[in-house]
Amino acid sequence: MKISARNQLRGTVVSVKEGAVEAQVVLDVGGQHIVSVVTVDAVKELGLSEGSPAVAVVKADSVMLAVD
């Protein structure tokens, strides 16, 4: 499947915190964590919970870089 996003990071959900409308989902990708904010509706539809495999899709121009 070809997609315009340059970054597709496979990982495992380590936590899901649901608010009234949105949920914060934390994904472990090779020992690093990436956080996504999605609708609660989407969490239900995808059945996301701790331990679920998931892919973080990030467009290249959304990535900010910094140096130590």
């Binding site: 499947m1 070809k2 315009s4 609708t39 989407a42 121009d61 959304s62």
Partner: protein
């Protein structure tokens, strides 16, 4: 760097009108720049933005209307108010002599002692990245260096309101980009209230907190930079900003903080609370729009919006492609890397699946 002891002053105006030869060039009901904020005034040539700057900077009087500095009504006769302001223009207007002579000019007029002038000039040149340039001849400077000197000449007066009228517009794009970043940093470090006139939205986005767009002297859009560029209110403003016109639609569903907006065949989902049948304009930032191949079997994703569309326009903007996709008769833009365009073989006429999150959708009631 430490902030100036004297931080920015709030600048506000009401009912400003100005005509030349019976032609109205500025008609601004209200404009407010909170203390320490930077407002960019954008518009094409002849839209009245420089005249508005002159009026707010007390350089010329309006035909009608008032200007307020920290809540106090002021006019162009008010010398004390004008002493709080400093300006830099498209042409730096440097005179023959050294860089230091030019930067110190306003201090001389204010009768500052010579010894104090030297230290103030050195400090100001440091701020703009020209430390130690005092003895250089002003007339041998490049365009970018001359604009830094013009900014130093304004900053040395320790203004509480800084007026910048297209200071970078005559520079080449590379220098302009670097200087815009530097100007933004300097303005932020010193908490000055700044009015920045430009016709370049990239400069405005780099420098300003808020922006207002003038058309024939009248504001047609205002808000944070993100609000105005993310959802231009009408086709003219969108065209001026190089964006797509907003879609229009009606709310057809609203549950759990998610609304569905029928834009004429497609229902776009956005985060929010609106009543059914509310009329909205709708936009999506190109940076947030993902493209998949038309026949890709997309797995479940958290993105609430997924449509089949056709690429109708492909343009290279800098290092990224700006692609316009027709979905249900509406035009939606996506910023796509060159690598993705090549890998997916995208061109005008390509069919694609368009995917974006509900949180990427901006809307406003009409």
């Amino acid at each position: 760097m430490m902030k100036d002891a004297q931080a920015g002053m709030a600048l506000r105006c009401n009912g400003i009108r100005k005509s030349y030869d019976k032609r109205a060039v500025v008609d601004v009901a209200e404009l407010d720049i909170p203390a320490g904020e930077t407002l960019a005034v954008l518009g094409p040539s002849g839209s009245g933005k420089s005249t508005l700057l002159s009026i707010l900077g007390l350089l010329e009087p309006p035909d009608t209307g008032e200007v307020y500095l920290d809540g106090k009504k002021v006019t162009h006769h008010d010398k004390a108010a004008r002493m709080h302001m400093a300006a830099a223009f498209q042409s730096p207007y440097l005179f023959k002599g050294t860089v230091a002579d030019n930067v110190a000019y306003g201090l001389k007029l204010r009768r500052m002692l010579s010894v104090d002038r030297r230290s103030a000039v050195a400090d100001s040149l440091d701020r703009v990245g020209l430390g130690g340039w005092e003895d250089r001849s002003a007339l041998t400077l490049s365009g970018g260096e001359a604009q830094r000197v013009a900014l130093a000449r304004a900053l040395v007066l320790r203004p509480r309101v800084l007026l910048l009228d297209e200071p970078l517009s005559s520079l080449d794009p590379l220098i302009k980009g670097q200087l815009a970043q530097d100007f933004a940093r300097i303005i932020r470090e010193h908490s000055m209230t700044t009015l920045y006139v430009t016709h370049d939205q990239n400069e405005a986005m780099a420098i300003a907190d808020r922006m207002v767009i003038l058309r024939d002297g009248v504001p047609v859009a205002s808000g944070t930079v993100d609000e105005v560029t993310g959802l231009p209110p009408d086709a003219w403003t969108a065209n001026f900003l190089g964006a797509e016109s907003p879609m229009q639609g009606s709310v057809v569903s609203s549950a759990d903080g998610l609304i569905g907006i029928d834009t004429g065949g497609c229902v776009v989902y956005a985060g929010g609370l609106e009543e059914i049948e509310s009329r909205l304009i709708v936009g999506v930032r190109p940076e947030d729009v993902l493209l998949f191949e038309a026949d890709a079997d997309i797995p479940l994703t958290t993105a609430r919006n997924r449509f089949l569309g056709t690429v109708v326009d492909v343009e290279l903007w800098g290092v990224m492609y700006h692609m316009v996709i027709d979905i249900c008769g509406s035009r939606l833009a996506s910023r796509v890397s060159r690598a993705s365009v090549r890998d997916m073989g995208l061109e005008t006429g390509s069919k694609v699946q368009v995917v974006f999150k509900a949180s990427a959708v901006r809307y406003k009631r009409i």
